[in-house]
């Protein structure tokens, strides 16, 4: 049987020369397109290194992040302290590794939370439309219209700034853009012919949402998520500036940068702010580049 099939396939291949001999899986197309974007590839590699070193912090770090060595305050980078020390003589390299854990954890988890809220709200609004849509979108408008700095300050005050609460807070504040995006995608996808085809088959609504619409809306959702991770990391830094970020002595890139935003430090130890700043920049940059790459790679239009 396989022989017959092969024969037919030969002919098919000849008649349809654009058919490749091996089937293209979505993953492979994804990688082909993604790897075309050099910045995205570089971004992924750098981000991978950053994530791995954060994950492996306890094994890589030469010191403990809370180890204070008051005799070695604000030392410049040296053999002993690769990236120098902070105001308590703590090793900056170590704190960066651990800080990455917190910053990335907060970034990822908040965005995951924001996605859960945003996708649910957006999907319901976009798929069902009408009055449900109107009400949900007004809610989104309301949350968007209140200045985020005010929301951050007051909500942090209410919940107290622990890591878990910060994640909750960022999720509560940043779901709106996802909701709008998902709604838009749903609005346009629900009239697409393959969705209509599924309806004529008699497929139920929830199945259409999860099996047909959502997978096709994933591209923009993931892209916006990558951008959101960067902005959450920056928001955490801003909160730290207001003294409401991650609680010391637990390091985060944001509170390290805030700690370094000090006249004395900036005059006498300019390398200190440089490193957390660089990592925030790199991470945000990587996420943005990856987002760009994902946009192209996940766009169903470009698959076709």
């Amino acid at each position: 049987m396989s022989q017959i099939n092969m024969e037919v396939s030969q002919k098919d291949l000849q008649l349809n020369p654009n058919l490749k001999s091996k089937p293209d899986t979505l993953t492979r197309i994804f990688f082909q397109k993604f790897t075309k974007n050099k910045l995205a590839v570089i971004g992924s590699i750098v981000l991978f290194i950053i994530i791995m070193s954060a994950v492996l912090a306890p094994w890589i770090a030469p010191y403990k992040f809370e180890d204070i060595n008051l005799l070695d305050k604000l030392k410049p980078p040296s053999k002993e302290y690769w990236l120098g020390t902070d105001r308590y003589g703590r090793d900056i390299f170590t704190r960066l590794l651990y800080g990455g854990r917190i910053s990335l954890l907060v970034g990822f988890c908040s965005v995951a939370g924001a996605l859960i809220i945003g996708v649910s709200v957006g999907a319901v609004a976009g798929y069902f439309g009408g009055i449900v849509d109107a009400i949900l979108m007004r809610l989104v408008d309301i949350v968007i219209s209140i200045p985020s700095i005010f929301l951050l300050i007051t909500v942090v005050t209410i919940f107290k700034p622990s890591v878990a609460n910060l994640i909750l807070i960022f999720a509560l504040i940043s779901w709106t853009s996802t909701a709008r995006l998902v709604r838009g995608e749903f609005l346009s996808l629900r009239t697409r012919e393959f969705v209509l085809a599924s309806k004529t088959i008699g497929t139920k609504s929830y199945k259409i949402i999860f099996s047909h619409i959502l997978p096709n809306a994933m591209g923009p959702i993931i892209v916006s998520a990558t951008l959101l991770v960067g902005s959450v990391i920056l928001s955490e830094a801003a909160l730290s500036y207001l003294g409401l970020g991650i609680q010391p002595p637990t390091p985060s890139w944001g509170n390290m940068l805030e700690d370094a935003q000090n006249y004395t430090v900036m005059l006498k130890a300019p390398w200190y702010p440089f490193f957390p700043g660089l990592l925030i920049l790199l991470t945000v940059l990587c996420f943005n580049f990856i987002g760009d790459g994902l946009r192209d790679a996940l766009d169903p239009k470009t698959i076709e």
Binding site: L139, S145, P147, S148, L234, L281, N288
Partner: protein, 316 residues
């Protein structure tokens, strides 16, 4: 058009109500109150109660809200609880011009830099300069304001002495336009860098889209040179999606500059917002959220009007 604006304004009322309810609920849920600021070892609880009673802070929250709403409907934002006796409207009006000036200038700065860059990037995508602009604009977005601001002050103001360290104008000097501009440059620059990236990216992708359109091909087939094609046929079409972004940026007009304002001692509404939130100066906070919401409404309206101006297909 007029009826459209009227309708939109009416439709904004539920939005405004929603915003005030949510803000009121949040700020009341935050522990502490304005009197906490007035802590004094000699102060007695009874004194505090008197104060709270006077300002109705012991009423149930919904009563406070409706009282506030009633006054606001009459155009009365009340008086500050911290700067007692100062009408909230006065506090805000004092600072509104500063905020508007800073935000408008930084916004224009961002627009003036971002749009040409975005257009260039779209015309020569994936060129070395395009990559440079991309990395450069993200650099701006990934640098926290508070840190960038201080760096600029230390370098340009303290070390080089090129710019003032902060404030809106030189103390005790007569008004001079140059002096005001001089004070504006650094904070506007800090704020603009944050918006720059988003604007550049949007312009780029929007222009990329436009340049693929059929009418661009038509314009080329008319024999126009690339520059003329892009300028005359591309830009106006490319700006249409950017207007949405303008609309989205407007909510940040009030609160968005808070940190930059603080670093540059710029007496704007953002700082007032943060201070009031920390001090639980409820009337000020509520007035600012209302103003911010009004800004959003006006911003969206303005965006709609701009849409109509840029895009003749849209009629109201």
């Amino acid at each position: 058009m007029v009826s459209y604006i009227f309708r939109r304004t009416l439709m904004a009322i539920p939005l405004l109500l929603g915003i005030t309810i949510l803000s009121f609920a949040i700020i009341k849920a935050a522990p502490g109150g304005p009197v906490a600021m007035l802590m004094d070892p000699k102060m007695k609880a009874s004194d505090r109660e008197k104060f709270e009673e006077k300002y109705g802070l012991n009423d149930p929250v919904y009563v406070q809200y409706f009282k506030w709403l009633g006054n606001m409907a009459k155009g009365d934002f009340g008086e500050s609880l911290i700067k007692r006796g100062t009408p909230v409207s006065e506090l805000i009006l004092n600072r509104l011009p500063n905020t508007l000036l800073l935000m408008t200038v930084s916004f224009l700065l961002a627009v003036l830099i971002a749009i040409p860059i975005g257009i260039y990037s779209a015309m020569r995508p994936y060129s070395p300069l395009d990559y440079t602009f991309t990395v450069g604009s993200f650099l701006g977005v990934a640098t926290p304001n508070f840190w960038f601001g201080l760096i600029l002050i230390m370098f340009f103001s303290v070390t080089l002495g090129w710019f003032p360290t902060g404030g809106v104008a030189t103390l005790n000097a007569p008004f001079s336009l140059w002096d005001r501009i001089h004070h504006l440059i650094l904070p506007a620059l800090v704020l603009a860098t944050a918006d720059l990236a988003a604007l550049t990216r949007y312009t780029r992708s929007s222009m990329l889209d436009v340049l693929k359109q059929d009418y661009i091909r038509t314009a080329k087939s008319k024999g126009f040179k690339e520059k003329k094609v892009v300028i005359k046929h591309g830009i106006r079409n490319g700006m249409i999606p950017i207007i949405t972004l303008f609309g989205l940026m407007l909510p940040s007009f009030i609160g968005g500059a808070a940190i930059t304002e603080k670093v540059f001692a710029w007496p704007g509404l953002g700082q007032l917002f943060i201070d009031s939130a920390f001090q639980r100066d409820y009337p000020v906070i509520m007035a600012l959220t209302v103003i911010s919401a009004v800004f959003v409404v006006i911003g969206n309206l303005l965006a709609d009007i701009l849409y109509a101006i840029f895009d003749p297909r849209i009629e109201y």
